[in-house]
Subunit: 316 residues, 2 copies
């Protein structure tokens, strides 16, 4: 009558090894955390649903890592450093133990990579698709979080890394696009959170690109009461995205799942930004500027506006 329920075994086997300081071994009703003195906490929560945010046959180890990384990307967008996370997993009864094992193994790899550990969470059954959420907690010096509001006329628009690989990776996994070296699929499954850039005092506004470059840039514009002009030819593409050809160029601009940083930077801070990015080993590219007015204008190589069907992704 005192045998623990089966889910306790599951938690002990797969999730307890991920549990760090304050998690109380995942044995209590809640976790404890002593916040770093004199710091502000930065908190974000993202959900991922099978068939919406990842594919049913994605390897479970990359599913866990993507979940963690999209949340870390939100911390990066606020120029915050990660501390710990809480995780909820809702999976169908009968999900094989090896699925949980692989899922947790992926998380263990990324915990080591990003210096973060599991604090707590919940494991439940669901009659539907696997549904995951992760709440990530980071910290920042008070008043130094990077915000989405704050761009000024003349601020340059910079992005990290390359744009469009996530969307093209999804297309490749759906066999709508060749992906000879598999690099696009990797970018869809394993986004790279751009942590470690001390952007306070350099960027005037920023966010991460999760729902499409054009749509997300529209958010920075609306919050600043400004417009933006982007030169399409400046938008950095990976070799694989460039090889996909012009037919996929618009998908790169609106596709989402990039998890690159999109920054507003005054021209006088551009050199400082470049030094910061070089020190962190992160490529950055200037793609345009904020202008008076409203709306995101994408210009092609002849200076003509690029017409887009949709600026990006919406769940509803």
């Amino acid at each position: 009558m005192t045998k623990p329920p089966a889910e306790f075994g599951l938690i002990a086997r797969h999730f307890r090894p991920l549990a760090g300081e304050g998690s109380l071994g995942l044995l209590d009703d809640a976790a404890l955390m002593t916040p770093p003195p004199g710091r502000q906490l930065v908190l974000t929560a993202d959900a991922m649903v099978e068939g919406v945010h990842f594919l049913p046959d994605d390897p479970p180890d990359t599913i866990g890592r993507k979940l963690l990384r999209v949340n870390l990307s939100d911390l990066a967008a606020m120029a915050a450093a990660p501390l710990a996370y809480l995780l909820t997993v809702s999976a169908p009864r009968g999900t094989p133990d090896r699925w949980f094992a692989a899922f947790a193994t992926g998380l263990a790899v990324d915990q080591a990579l990003f210096g973060i550990s599991l604090l707590g969470g919940d494991t439940t059954s669901t009659p539907g698709p696997v549904s995951l959420t992760l709440t990530c907690i980071g910290h920042v010096a008070p008043g130094q979080a990077l915000r989405r509001a704050g761009a000024s006329v003349g601020d340059e628009i910079w992005v990290t890394g390359t744009i469009g690989d996530g969307a093209l990776g999804l297309a490749a996994l759906q066999e709508r696009l060749p992906d000879p070296d598999g690099s696009l699929a990797v970018r869809y499954r394993l986004p790279q959170p751009r942590l470690g850039l001390a952007l306070h005092g350099i960027a005037s506004a920023g966010m991460d690109v999760s729902d499409g470059l054009v749509q997300d840039l529209g958010h920075l514009c609306r919050l600043a009461g400004l417009g933006a002009r982007v030169e399409a030819t400046r938008v950095p593409l990976s070799p694989a995205a460039a090889a996909a050809g012009p037919a996929w160029r618009k998908a790169c601009l609106t596709g989402g799942d990039d998890y690159e940083l999109l920054l507003a930077v005054p021209p006088c801070r551009a050199a400082a930004l470049q030094r910061l990015a070089e020190a962190a080993g992160i490529a950055i590219t200037r793609i345009g500027a904020f202008v008076p007015g409203e709306g995101v204008l994408i210009l092609d190589e002849y200076g003509a506006p690029v017409v887009l069907d949709s600026p990006g992704w919406s769940h509803f």
Copy 2:
């Protein structure tokens, strides 16, 4: 090209009114929180899935409130006070706006009741059932969180409120049991988190009863290396649960969804516990004691062991 996506309207209409200090109007990638100085944070995350944790035709306002309350109950189990929460909502495309409106209205009622506000989160679509998670953040004086481990031989076992109403409420909503005044259904849909008891120095261990009294008491036993004896006739039942008759007595002991506190209290602290509970207007009842050995033994009115098919709920 800069119109915000439809989900932004949904978030602005229903969730922004819930957003409090540090939420940045739900417009940024993450929220900010300045932790109360000199306090430990207490963090918990729970998932609720339609058809598992609530019924498809439960009123949406009670679904949001139940989600918040089960998390607040975890804070209560650690003797912590609530600060703020993050919320993720995954709902099918086409979920009517009035569903979100009612869901958020329920949360607004409970935010006022429990002095807590929304910090951030995520809204996504799902091809499956509605899946919700809530991460709740509370605080406690350092070292004063109540833990599950720590019961000693001779400690009395106390519970708050009444046991079994949640399980019987589910049975009533499934038309397996009459519920003339509807009180059982209310208890299933709106558990009462037992916040506000300063249990440090009074209880030696504690948790909330979410998966069945017998199973959850088994956790306190295993962590203490002890057994427990419970007198079934002492387990407090509501008038409605008592009226359900002896056929439902075992369901009360193992059914789950109680969200009452289960406490280990040294006999010399019992009077202090009673004063605390009286001041907070919370009924408490002594139902048994911790004993050497292992296992939870339930004794009937003749002192004979009650045989249970299953000690409680397991998702897997």
